[in-house]
Symmetry: C2
Subunit: 423 residues, 2 copies
């Protein structure tokens, strides 16, 4: 099995101003190729540290990926380290990346400055994968090969430099996966992902323990919990080409988690809801109080959502609940805005207002303040209205504001999904 290290370069991670989310994406991408990430390292913008760390890594690991350290500003010194480390005499201008620098900056209405052009300069002994999202090229150093060998000749790994900007790094990962496939004999590996919502990781683990224990030795199960998508189960079969193996495993799993399972591929609730709505020829809308626009933001993150998503009202103030959604004032007075009656009225109100077939509504207390013994921080009421009627649901979560809002929104989407299934 190939072994990898991920090295993040940049003071912003080390001083704690930015959380490193890239490494997690990279190790998952490597994992799908059957490559094991053995170490993640974050270091600062210091030439000697970068040199020593990369030098050690290319001697130890088959694949070394770096992120960061390659912006246009002057505190970026990584490229000169790479020139020395690779034994390159100097720099060459990569025409593909240079064209991309012009294209990107012109599209933004910006002039191409000297420091922008300099981004297309790369050490002699590297290959370039053009970064289609940003100005810093992805450099590939094949230390194990004649051309890319370090002067000491001791490196053996392939080093890829990814940009530090997360969406640029993510977009480049597929190109890097293809490059690895083209240059290394990879173990045969198959994956199957199953999406669940509404059950905690520990409860899920307990529920499927017997099935998990009986999995074949070459099948590995990973739990990947996420507040917005629920617990993703990833089955990986090593050294096996036959799709029947994983399908057989799934046959035992399905009846155990039927009520929580919402997809048998790597996806998310807004995408699944969009597919269901299109299949059934329905439209939807949302009325949000405590989730403050998050449901709408999630639903509209899916390309093509205009086919079924009409819009939403964020009724943060009670005056907006009353005047825009036409929730009767006496309902709010009698039961409060965080109540079954209020979310039912909100859901029906936004359906009438937008003319949608179905709708979802939320009202709750995200915190940190605003809770009472009766209605604590973390309480949410969810309403779903369809041609069959209006249902309401009550949940309590115990997180901080940001995570309560995420859980409220995802739980609302899951209820919406279940009600659409019943249509």
């Amino acid at each position: 099995m190939l072994k990898a290290a991920i090295i993040t370069i940049g003071d912003e991670i080390l001083i704690g101003q930015v959380v490193d989310t890239n490494s997690s994406h990279i190790s998952r991408a490597l994992g799908t190729l059957g490559i094991k990430t053995e170490r993640m390292i974050s270091i600062g913008d210091d030439a000697q540290t970068i040199y020593d760390t990369l030098d050690a890594a290319i001697q130890t690991y088959d694949i070394v990926l770096t992120t960061g350290g390659l912006g246009p500003t002057k505190d970026d010194i990584t490229k000169e380290v790479l020139r020395r480390l690779s034994g390159s005499d100097g720099y060459k201008e990569d025409q593909g990346q240079l064209a991309m620098v012009y294209e990107i900056l012109h599209a933004r209405g910006l002039d191409v400055l000297e420091i922008n052009k300099a981004q297309a300069l790369v050490p002699d002994k590297c290959e370039v994968i053009v970064n289609k999202r940003g100005t810093a090229p992805i450099m590939v150093f094949r230390f194990g090969s004649e051309n890319g060998a370090s002067p000491q000749g001791k490196g053996r790994g392939t080093l890829y430099t990814l940009p530090g900007v997360p969406h640029e790094a993510l977009a480049a990962l597929e190109d890097i996966q293809n490059d690895i496939r083209a240059h290394y004999p990879l173990d045969r590996i198959q994956h199957k992902t199953v999406m669940t919502y509404g059950i905690a990781e520990s409860a899920l683990a307990q529920r499927i323990a017997g099935w998990e224990d009986a999995l074949p030795d070459n099948v590995h199960l990973a739990y990947l919990p996420n507040p917005l998508t629920g617990v993703r189960l990833r089955l990986s079969a090593y050294g096996c080409d036959d799709p029947v193996l994983l399908e057989d495993c799934l046959k035992g799993l399905r009846p155990l988690i039927n009520e929580y399972l919402y997809a048998e591929e790597d996806t998310d609730l807004p995408t699944v809801i969009g597919t269901l709505l299109k299949q059934k020829g329905l439209t939807m809308s949302a009325a949000e109080s405590c989730t403050g626009g998050t449901i709408s933001q999630l639903m509209t993150s899916v390309p093509g959502c205009s086919e079924y998503y009409l819009g939403s009202v964020t009724s943060y103030a009670n005056s907006v609940k009353e005047n825009v959604l036409h929730v009767p004032a006496d309902i709010i007075e009698q039961y409060g805005a965080v109540s079954s009656d209020c979310v039912a009225q909100m859901a029906e109100g936004v359906r009438r207002l937008t003319g949608s077939d179905v709708s979802v509504a939320t009202s709750g207390i995200a915190g940190p303040g605003g809770g009472t013994p009766d209605k604590p921080v973390g309480l949410v009421w969810i309403g779903v209205s369809t041609p069959l009627g209006t249902q309401t649901f009550r949940h309590i979560f115990k997180n901080d504001r940001a995570h309560n809002i995420e859980r409220f929104a995802a739980t609302a989407l899951n209820h919406l999904r279940q009600e659409i299934l019943a249509l």
Copy 2:
């Protein structure tokens, strides 16, 4: 200056299942003491790897903090490594932590099992800081001292073990800061953060290059770009107590970036807008098409926003623009939904509907599809309506859907901020 390393132990980080947020909190806590984090490392639950990594770290760094590797099930691996590394003959039971184990489990209505009690066992040669949030003690190994020296006598640093659960790790940080203060003479350090929006990192760097070159040797500048907050500039002064030094640096910076500068502290646009609205006693609303709820979601991420944020309409479908926001159908017919006239009507419509003092509206093409030569993917029109009138603004970005939406929303918030300033 004291140097630190942060080591995260656990397969869940390495396989990309969990993003490591602890290291960021820890390095910020160390930074406030003037301690520089030079390296962050993530390794798996493998005894030899843990031993080698910790052994190297305590020889190189003054302060080494670990997180993870100490749950009730995997306890044995990390703790036994620590026993060997510290030259401890065996384990001792820490009475303070044992009492806490009983207290925590009883409060949760759980029995205290043998594996729970075993958590209070620690290697002979360590001191314990009681973990008040969880069952795993914080162990302190003073390798530089007689009592805590490793058998090889080569370690020099102090090693602290933090729990892996983020809220437990966070809660323990203050105790660790106090322990460090009590045992080390600390350097003086000061930071100052300046927030800019609307200028790219490279253009900003060029604009302030002369000023940056003239900074005193002990002042360091970092560029921290973020699509939602703009480019954050962080100035750090080492070995200096006098606030006049950084204030003098800022005096030269302000006139160079005046039109982009929106705060002189670490904050974001929704928070700054909220503060402005509260100061001026104003309320706001939003009408979103292409941003799909993102502006509302960002504004409501700020605790206490109900004081000034009334709500929003996501008018994704033209029918909602017409029927809810009362944008005249002939405006959409004549100019299209992505037009100056449409966003002006949307902004005015949502102001009327919610009764807010100011409002912001967006209509654009986030992609991937839907663009035309006249109105390409990445085009956005932004409208801001205030008691002084309604302004519209046009921008083009070139990103993928998710990042276009972020840039649209943040740019709209920045225009809103500027118009509120003029009131």
